[in-house]
Symmetry: C2
Subunit: 410 residues, 2 copies
């Protein structure tokens, strides 16, 4: 807000000061704002030191990342974190309207296998929490939980437990990946929205649901944060508004993995990695499919079972699984989902194909042994979605306190 | 729901099976339910194995804790987790109505000092993530983040960063304590709702706000989960309904720490530990104050500064701090809050009194150096609050996947 002060009063104020101003709100003669405050009484609640790092000029994103504790005071980070809050509420509203229960899956887990070993291990910090026990293997150090524990990479398997009891559940929480990665798309700690839905029989039902979820949430943000989105459109990405309008107005495209491979191999474009049937897409392939070819969100479905996790439901062809990755222009994969393998014997077979210990997964198998339910679910990478909504290039700039390789400041 | 079947159909169904039943919904002649389903077509979607551990009888809480992956299928845990979901939404509604932004504070932090060392340490699991670096101290092992990191014990200090930029913020996330504790009130992983409010000048404003927050959320639960609360009142705690009605209708009592010590020392009751001015309350003292003396929620305010953390605002008397613990009958402390010390020099002094390294807290001090703001905040122990709402004795039974000493199942 523009405040009109005498120059004497204005000279007393430093950038970064905290002030309380009494005055009269009037129509502004200026073109930059509709209203302004004619100050009558100016009170400084908190002085600002002259070493204040933020000045009334452009600061680079790198500089602001070095001042994590102050960057939320800039106009761009104010806008980003308001949109972040609105996105949370948008998702909440959607799931409440659709009669879901919100649950909490655990952060500390005893499984390190699902994420291929790229997990963080946890130990009690103090020596006094370590106990030495006599076992048949001699003296063994025993930690807090009595067994090795890790930070979760996904709440999905636990969410399935509750979906098989309460029908429709979602969880919103932090997940962790110990991947050494310095890309603008990866964080070691990020937030995931994961939903599990009982009595889901067909993959298309899942796709319909994901599409509604993202459309309704995006609409909520457009309705409640229009000024912030205008700001991003002006300063961050001139095509943002058009892209978001398209997202809520046009149906998402749906193609199979085979069709996608076909499109890529016919593409009039040189890829660093040739697209090969039976391998995962590289980020350049995802970008081509969503940004160049489809020019909008695209569901890729029915991947070969070898390149997807054990829990996805095997299709009648025996070769592919009933799954989807949703790719968005510029950002790439935002959602991953599938029907879950609900048939006991087929799940045992899949676990063995992946050399996973069936005993460790007995609780997961039990869900199929005692009243199994056809079901499916999906996970939304919350920060990736926010990158799409704000147009921000670097994922570290859409979360207040980013954590990644060699980066844990404040 | 009661379903009326032929005995032939009924004999085909085992406890735990997943069924789809088509039929006609009718008024029930029975007294236990108002409606029943007259089955026309019964379809078994998922058979249940005869080894299904849950039977149509009473199971102890201990037995159900040993079957974490199935206990959410019982009526009591269904009710608990529905109430848990309603409580989340109740809090969300309250904070949205009061124009707060939801934020996320980090789970991985680089500080281990605040919780007195009772923290979990994190390391990358794989050898490949460990690097050996040449430094002036010789070869040093370098971990994923380049410095030791821990699981957060509270999001408060980080929330203050955002309150000093966005005015009113709240965060809802998991926090961790590596306390070896087998009591029914402690978890190693639990959820906290933490709010920070800029431009808060008096402790009473904070108390008013906490009281509204808990009253509105409790009302929301009473309005949306009446059947589940009736169930708890009938089977768990016969005084629950009365206690909850009182909570939303009567003002919370407010007394100072000095007054509380006075009440305790005059109490016609033998305590295991004598209440002594200048020491923290024991759980027997909290119980006496809330359950016996006040018979309802009671705010204890203005504790001696020596027994409270460094960040609480020192009162004009120089001896106490502007803080509160809110005690609830049966459960004890549910909320802790305070005005935050916003005066730079006084905060430096407090850090030194606690032998804390001012350099490590420079970012926190900066919030006072650059436009300091009188502010306050509080944290609600989400599972403790749920114990109060449901009447459940053990905190492990109000969270889907409890983690505590030697307990990390499923």
């Amino acid at each position: 807000m523009q405040v009109v002060l005498t120059s004497e009063e204005a000279n007393k104020l430093k950038t970064g000061a905290c002030v309380r101003i009494h005055g009269i709100l009037t129509q502004s003669p200026g073109t930059e704002q509709s209203k302004e405050l004619q100050a009558q009484h100016v009170e400084v609640l908190g002085e600002s030191d002259s070493t204040y790092p933020l000045q009334k000029k452009y600061h680079s994103m790198e500089f602001l990342r070095d001042n994590l504790h102050l960057r939320s005071r800039t106009n761009i980070f104010g806008a980003i974190f308001r949109v972040r809050s609105a996105a949370i509420i948008g998702f909440q509203n959607f799931f409440q309207t659709n009669e879901f229960f919100q649950i909490h899956t655990p952060i500390i887990t005893n499984s390190d296998c699902e994420g291929g070993g790229e997990v963080f291990k946890i130990s009690a910090n103090k020596k006094k929490n370590i106990k030495i026990e006599h076992t048949k293997d001699g003296l063994v150090e025993k930690d807090f939980f009595g067994s090795p524990v890790y930070l979760t990479v996904s709440g999905q398997l636990h969410a399935e437990i509750l979906a098989c009891a309460m029908s429709r559940v979602y969880t919103f929480g932090p997940v962790f990946r110990a991947e050494e990665s310095l890309t603008s798309r990866h964080l070691a700690e990020f937030w995931m929205l994961e939903a599990e839905i009982a009595f889901m029989f067909k993959l298309d039902e899942l796709l319909d649901f994901v599409e509604s979820c993202l459309r309704d949430t995006t609409k909520h943000i457009l309705n409640t944060c229009s000024q912030d989105l205008e700001f991003f459109n002006q300063w961050v990405d001139k095509e943002l508004s058009t892209r978001l309008e398209d997202t809520i107005n046009k149906p998402f495209i749906r193609i199979t993995y085979s069709e996608a491979i076909n499109i890529l191999s016919k593409a009039n474009k040189r890829f660093e990695f040739q697209p090969v049937f039976g391998t995962s897409f590289h980020s350049e392939h995802e970008k081509y499919l969503a940004t160049d070819y489809c020019r909008g969100p695209v569901f890729i479905t029915d991947y070969p079972k070898e390149i997807k996790p054990f829990y996805m439901r095997v299709n009648p062809d025996g070769k592919t699984v009933a799954c989807t990755d949703l790719l968005f222009p510029k950002v790439g994969e935002i959602v991953g989902g599938s029907l879950r393998e609900e048939r006991y014997q087929k799940l045992v077979k899949r676990l063995k194909e992946f050399n996973l210990n069936t005993e460790e997964f007995q609780w997961y198998l039990d869900l199929r042994k005692y009243g199994t339910i056809p079901h499916g679910g999906f996970g939304i990478g919350f920060e990736r979605y926010l990158q799409y909504i704000t147009g921000m290039d670097n994922i570290r700039d859409v979360i207040p306190f980013p954590r990644s390789t060699n980066f844990c400041k404040v």
